[in-house]
Amino acid sequence: MRLKKQKNSQASGEPMVWMTAMGLSMGVLMILGLLALIFYKGLEVFWPKHVAEIHLKSEDGNGERLLGEIILQRDRSSHKSSNENDEGSPLRETQIFMGNKEVLGQAFRFVEQDKIKKTSYPESVIKLERREYGNAMGFPQAIYQADQELIPLKKTELFEKTLHQLVKTYNARWEEIRHIEKDQIGKINYEMEELELEKKQLEEQNTAAKNAQAKNRLQELESSQKTLQEKYQKLADQAKKLREAQQGAQLEILLANGQSHKIEVSQILEYYYPNQLSTWGRVGMFFHKIWLFLSQEPREANTEGGVFPAFFGTLVMTLLMTIVVVPFGVMAAIYLKEYAKQGPLVRTVRIAVNNLAGVPSIVFGVFGMGFFVYMVGGTIDQLFFSNKLPTPTFGTGGLLWASLTLALMTVPVVIVATEEALGAVSQNIREGALGCGASKWQMIQKIILPASAPGILTGAILAMARGAGEVAPLMLVGVVKLAPTLPINSTFPYIHLDQKFMHLGFHIYDLGFQSPDSEAAKPIVFATTLLLILLVLVLNLGAIILRERLRKKYASGKF
């Protein structure tokens, strides 16, 4: 017999190895590309850019001047056909962010590259972050204060000191107003509402026989209402006074087009000179902006400010979901694996559970709304909160229903992972436990569950990852664009499971597709996406660390 020389490499499977390797590398590349894009775009938002002054060409040599940050430069030659000038030269254009929305009408503008005569970066440019209308940019001129002499820029030191001092005091006053209006008046409103409810109840109960006791109570209620009303009036007056004090000081800036523009100092949140910052100053500013983004509430239809409520809402909801889904899934899996008699019925149940994982999430949202919100929530309202009806308490979307809906959605993941982990505990160990006189439950509780804890945690990680990133069902069961208060706050009972909340995933959708100024929202969309990814990552890392510690505790390759 002669050995044949191998003719085609097909037989050895070489091409298949390459193909499978290619499949993997494509997947990895796509994921890495996505992550790189989100990281770059998401972090770029916080980097303080230079502000450029752009002179445009014109015939009389007296062209327009623009002031702004260069956001993007792109090739537009592919769009040439729709353009009138069809010269051969490639057409490039620059997008600049000019701010000053209320004066210029638009904050963003595209400028064709060949129309730019000169670009410079003047040192004196100031950038103002404002409460309304987004950022303002310009050359500072002078500070106007009521009943005081104006301070021109020339008196550099005094100008700087005054501006700093003014911004500081005005912001402090804002805080005070906010505290009065939101916290104190909010609390009074809450108390008023409670009184009103009690009053309504009393009146309904005793229409027929108004006994003396009820009458007394009613009077009491009315008098306390009166005191509250007085308190409210006092606070409202105080706030009004403070608001009046917010008027007066103005900063005059010169815009690029030569227009002078006065800005109320009370509008200024922060200011800095972007072209004067050193590299370290820029790094400091970068982290400062990240901190503001994480810790502040959103402003101006969510396109400005931070995302703290959304971040917090996502975190609380995901944790709540995990707390519900893990015990629920583990219990179901234990019965399915350990107690149920294996047979066609159990097999059917298992297939059904697996298929449940593939049901589109919006279906769970609809179910959650129908079952949790309307049925369960409606019943709870009727039984316990009937005095508040027709205003629903639990009969509307909220944190609890959103968490439960997501728990329902992710429970198959936990069941499957737990079943696998339980099955991986060897028969040998089980017999050892039983041989020591353990009952079946003791065996499960003391031996099998600890040994399969790492596997169960894997299921929890997968559930958390899926739950935290889900948006569609949440829109139906409790997520809102802007929630007035956090679901956990300082008013009794501290954790408000019935409250609507904000969510990073929905925030992204809302900013990207529902925002009036999508161009202005774009940076925040990227930053929010990055934050959501990092949040999921951190939650998963926490679970992974816990899993590794458990593995080490039961150290051995056997499990």
Binding site: A433, G435, C436, G437, Y554
Partner: protein
């Protein structure tokens, strides 16, 4: 089935197996076994693979209950009490009849927790008592000197022989009357095997031991009595010395001389 019961020893019977048959579904694994096992002696069950010796052993603490669709006929009495009595809880039976398995199976816990497992599930929490039991059991299983400084370490870090001795310690921590051993040395090297065998000699002073083994030398070394099973039937049961030197049945002789099995 003719069973020679030479009553030279004074030790009373602790386990009385009467007319016992066992079925896995429709398969009959044991046929009308009659056997009386004396107290504080080592009784070896030998026979070729699939002869039913493990089934018989696992019937004594009702470990076979775990197999679906298994059933039995006949009786097994321990101290004159029927182990299948519906009044008797299987859990209390297993506390009286400890078991050591073929493959060592320490729990994924610390050495200490492995030993006190039986006590913990029985609800004993007094630290001093537990410490005492750990020391006594580990000393009895000749493991104390090797592990006394690392009782809190994972049991899975021990060597194979140590793990098996830990399993013995775990079994005797419950203070059982009977200790069942299902081929306890089959996965161990000769040194570890020798240790376990000398341990069996020691344990015999306090416990009744029933051991299943494939290894006839081992049976002759450690046991006082030997039962030979073949195809689910008890062929011969006698004092070990008699059975190995002067078997009464042809099948026994064929097996111990290595003609089959």
């Amino acid at each position: 089935m003719p069973v020679e019961n030479s009553n030279q020893k004074l030790n009373p019977t602790i386990i009385q197996i009467e007319n016992f048959s066992f079925f896995y579904g429709k398969n009959q694994a044991l046929f009308d076994i009659d056997l009386s096992i004396p107290e504080k002696e080592v009784t070896a069950l030998i026979g070729p693979s699939g002869c039913g010796k493990s089934t018989l052993l696992r019937s004594i603490n009702r470990m076979n209950d775990l197999v679906d669709e298994s059933n039995h006929r006949g009786r097994i009495l321990i101290q004159d009490q029927d182990i299948h009595d519906t009044q008797l809880e299987v859990i209390s039976l297993r506390k009286r009849v400890g078991m050591v398995f073929q493959k060592s199976n320490p729990f994924p816990k610390s050495i200490y927790e492995n030993v006190v497992f039986g006590l913990r599930i029985a609800g004993k929490t007094n630290k001093n008592d537990l410490d005492e039991v750990v020391e006594r059991s580990l000393k009895a299983s000749a493991l104390w000197d090797e592990v006394k400084d690392r009782l809190k370490d994972s049991a899975l870090g021990l060597s194979g022989g140590q793990m098996q001795r830990l399993c013995i310690a775990r079994a005797i921590a419950n203070q059982p009357e009977v200790l069942l051993m299902d081929e306890p040395c089959s996965a161990l090297d000769p040194v570890a095997t020798a240790k376990i065998e000398s341990l069996i000699h020691e344990l015999k002073k306090n416990y009744t031991i029933v051991i299943v083994t494939h290894n006839m030398q081992q049976a002759s070394r450690v046991s006082d009595r030997t039962a030979f099973l073949y195809m689910g039937k008890l062929i011969e049961y006698d004092e070990t010395e008699t059975l190995f030197t002067n078997p009464k049945q042809q099948q026994t002789e064929d097996y111990i001389t290595g003609r089959f099995g």
